[in-house]
Structures are given as C-alpha cells and as structure tokens.
C-alpha cells in the first residue's frame, strides 16, 4: 500500500515534469534557439580553434602567425571601427522605426479622421481553442451598440456581437465563425475573408472572381458590403495565393495587420 502511494507520487511528479518540458519545447521560438546555438558555439569554439592550430602546426601552415603582433593590432582597430559602425547602425534603425511609426500614425489619423471612436481595453479573451472572441471594458453606457466596427491602430479587429452596460463582446475577424467582405486595394478584386481555427494571425480569402488578378503582398481592406463593417478599413496583406485545380477553387492567405496575441486596446467606431 505504502509502495503504491510512493509510486503514485513519483508518477505525478514525472507527469508534471513531462508537461513542463512539453510546454517549453513547443513554445520555444527561434530567438531562444539561437541563444542555445550561441552557448553551444561558445563551448565548441575553443576546442575547434585548438584543433585547427594543431593542424596548421603539423602542416607547417603556421607562417601566417609570424607577424601575429601586427595582425593583433589591426584586428583591435578593426574591432573598434566595427563597434562604432554598429552603434551608428543601431541609431539609424531607431530613427527609421520612429519615422515609420510616425508616418503610420499620420496616415491613420488622416485615414480614420471621419470616424468617431470610443477606446476600450480587452478584459477577457476566449477560453477555448476553437473560437476567438474578446470582451472589452466599454458597453452601452459608453454608446456602444451591436454590430459596431472595432479597429486597432494597425487595422480591423472585428465587430460588437453583444453589449451590457459596462462591457461588450467582440467577434474577431480571425474567429472561424467570422466572414468579412473585403477587396484588394490595388486591383479592387472582392473576396470573403474567413477566420481559421488553427492560426491566430491569418485569414483564408475565398470567393475570388475567376478573372481576378490577386497580387502577393497587396493590401486588403473592407469592402463595406454586408452591412456590418465600415468601408475602407485595412485588414492585412496577401501572404500567399493558392491556385486550385480550377479557377473557382483558388484562395489566398491574408496576414492580418493586427497582432491579436498582443492586442490590448481597441477602438469602437460609433458613427
């Protein structure tokens, strides 16, 4: 009996460890992998260097190192130059990002200036793997009504499906029950963008006309058809066009402009 109990506790501990390992391994991103690679490199590098040095010695290739002092000096001056250049590059990157952000804000302010908006903060996200609704902290008391369009700085988020006095529920465009009528900005081809259960940042665009000329990288915006979404709101960019066996089967993958994983505040268009 005592043995069974001990076995049970060990089983539970092992399961907890397995679970934690599974969670970490499956959520590891490429940035972390590169850190691991760096650590491994740091360990292996001195050994590799020593072996190369030995090989050079044996093959009489070590004449390279005769003027080693000169090389060392040159190396240190180059390193310094390199770090100065890197510093400058970083400064340029910061300025570039700032410039892009300001440009974007200016465009958005001009683009959405005709709308009256109410800001809201997300207070709850969906608890299921299969749907992606949100709850925000503004409701009918703030003038929010059903079917109002919800946007973020980057573009379309979804629409209000129900409200209480203080909260509103939003059906996002990435929800699998969502279908948004859109059009490609440059070619003006219409399409229906639907959410998928697998991906939180992609939409599947179907019902594309057979003579449409969908371009990869083209911007996609709402068409205003369907009576829910306001016309001309940025949805995302066309990531990939999949041509089916016949023209009517073709569909496109749209990368949403809004990062739903990091989304915290939204704007509800009230007019």
């Amino acid at each position: 009996m005592e043995k069974n109990k001990k076995g049970g506790i060990i089983g539970v501990i092992i399961t907890i460890i397995i679970l934690i390992i599974l969670v970490f391994i499956t959520n590891i991103n490429s940035e972390n992998i590169s850190i691991i690679e760096n650590v491994a490199n740091n360990i292996v590098m001195p050994i590799e260097n020593a072996l190369t040095y030995l090989k050079n010695k044996l093959n009489n290739n070590d004449k390279f190192f005769e003027n080693i002092d000169e090389l060392k000096n040159e190396n240190s001056s180059l390193k310094q130059e390199n770090s100065e250049l890197e510093q400058k590059l970083r400064e340029f990157e910061i300025i570039k990002n700032e410039n892009e952000q300001l440009k974007q804000q200016l465009n958005l302010a001009e683009k959405y200036s005709e709308f009256t908006t109410v800001p809201g903060t997300i207070i709850s996200r969906d608890i299921s793997n299969y749907s992606k609704t949100l709850v925000i902290n503004v409701g009918s008391d703030n003038g929010i009504e059903e079917k109002m369009t919800v946007i973020a700085d980057e573009g379309l988020v979804g629409y209000v499906i129900s409200t209480t006095n203080k909260t509103s529920k939003i059906q996002t465009i990435i929800d699998s029950a969502s279908a948004t009528s859109c059009l490609a900005s440059s070619t003006r081809d219409t399409m229906i963008c639907k959410g998928t259960i697998e991906n939180k940042s992609q939409l599947s665009a179907s019902n594309i006309a057979t003579d449409a000329r969908i371009i990869q990288g083209d911007s996609v915006e709402t068409s205003g058809l369907g009576g829910i979404y306001v016309k001309g709101i940025h949805v995302g960019r066309i990531k990939k066009v999949n041509e089916g066996s016949n023209k009517t089967d073709s569909y496109a993958i749209i990368e949403t402009a809004v990062d739903f994983e990091k989304l915290e505040t939204v704007l509800v268009i009230t007019n």
């Binding site: 399961t15 608890i127 299921s128 699998s176 639907k194 697998e198």
Partner: protein, 177 residues
C-alpha cells in the same frame, strides 16, 4: 448543512478553474493549444456527485461561460450538461478506483465535448469546416487533459469520496451489494 457547503465549494472551484483557464492556461500551452479543464471538472462532478448534479452544474456553468465569452447562449451549456450526464452514467458501469479508467473517461469526455461543440457551432454559427486542423488541435488538447488528470487524480480521489459519501449517502452501498 455539509451538502450546502459542498455546493458552495463547487461554485468557488468553478470560478478558480475559469480564472486558471483564462489567465494561466492561455499562456501555459502545448504548441499554442490550451487544455479544457471544464471537461475535467464536469467529469469529476458527474463521477462523484451523480448525473443529476452533473447535468445541473453543466447547464449553470455553461450558461455563465456563454454569457461571458460565448457567441450563442446555450451551446457550451448543452455540451457541458451532456458531459455531466455521460460521466454520471460511466460511474455506474466502471470503477473509478482505477487511474487508467479515469484517464480513458477523461479523454473520451474531452473528445465528445469538443466534437459536440464543433458540430453545434457548425450548425448554428455556420463555421468553416477544417477537419484536419480540428483533429490536430483536439489530439493535443486530449493529451494535455490526460496529463492534467494524472497530476490531479490523487486530489480528485481524496476529495471525491468525501463528497460522494455526503451527496449520495446510502445509495452508494446498493451499488456494491
């Protein structure tokens, strides 16, 4: 008096579970997939409190989830009530002393719950059918739930029999004799 206390504890546990699912498990995922601890909770209620309580709590908790975050009122409610009923029925056929049986029940309940909800959403909300992706998510979710049941099984067993003795009372004896 003790019965009322048990019901209060069940409601408080549900609130804790909701917060766990919404805050902790939304981040602590396996390949971006969350477990569904409501199913485990309904399995627990069905097994140790009987199918009547299972159905009642399934409906109440489901309505709460639907009102707060769901798209249509009633879908989660029906699915959770059915899980409460199934686990109550399974209790009469199988012994819950075996860990393996509980794990099997947990996986069956998770699969049945998600398929049921998906079909209902397809019929009511006209969602897109993505069978392959659905199977992939469901498989990971089931494995996650099984791992969680292994971890909390000792706690389930310990508290479960206390609750069963109190709620089912004398009825419990007729099962074995």
């Amino acid at each position: 008096m003790k019965k009322i206390l048990i019901h209060i504890i069940i409601v408080i546990t549900f609130i804790i579970i909701y917060l766990l699912q919404a805050v902790f498990f939304s981040e602590f995922t396996i390949a971006g997939i969350m477990p569904n601890i409501f199913v485990i909770f309904m399995l627990y209620i069905g097994l140790y409190m009987g199918k009547e309580n299972g159905i009642t709590y399934g409906i109440i908790f489901g309505i709460f989830i639907d009102i707060w975050i769901g798209k249509t009122l009633g879908l989660t409610s029906i699915a959770l009530a059915i899980i409460g009923f199934i686990s109550g029925t399974l209790d009469k056929t199988f012994s819950k002393d075996s860990r393996i049986i509980i794990l099997l029940m947990g996986s069956i309940c998770t699969i049945v719950y998600e398929i049921m909800l998906y079909v209902m959403q397809y019929l009511v909300l006209k969602i897109n059918v993505e069978i392959l992706q659905f199977i992939k998510i469901l498989s990971i979710e089931t494995i996650y739930n099984v791992l969680l049941i292994i971890i909390i099984y000792p706690l389930m067993k310990l508290t479960g029999y206390e609750i069963e003795n109190e709620i089912k009372g004398d009825k419990i004896l007729t099962r074995y004799f």
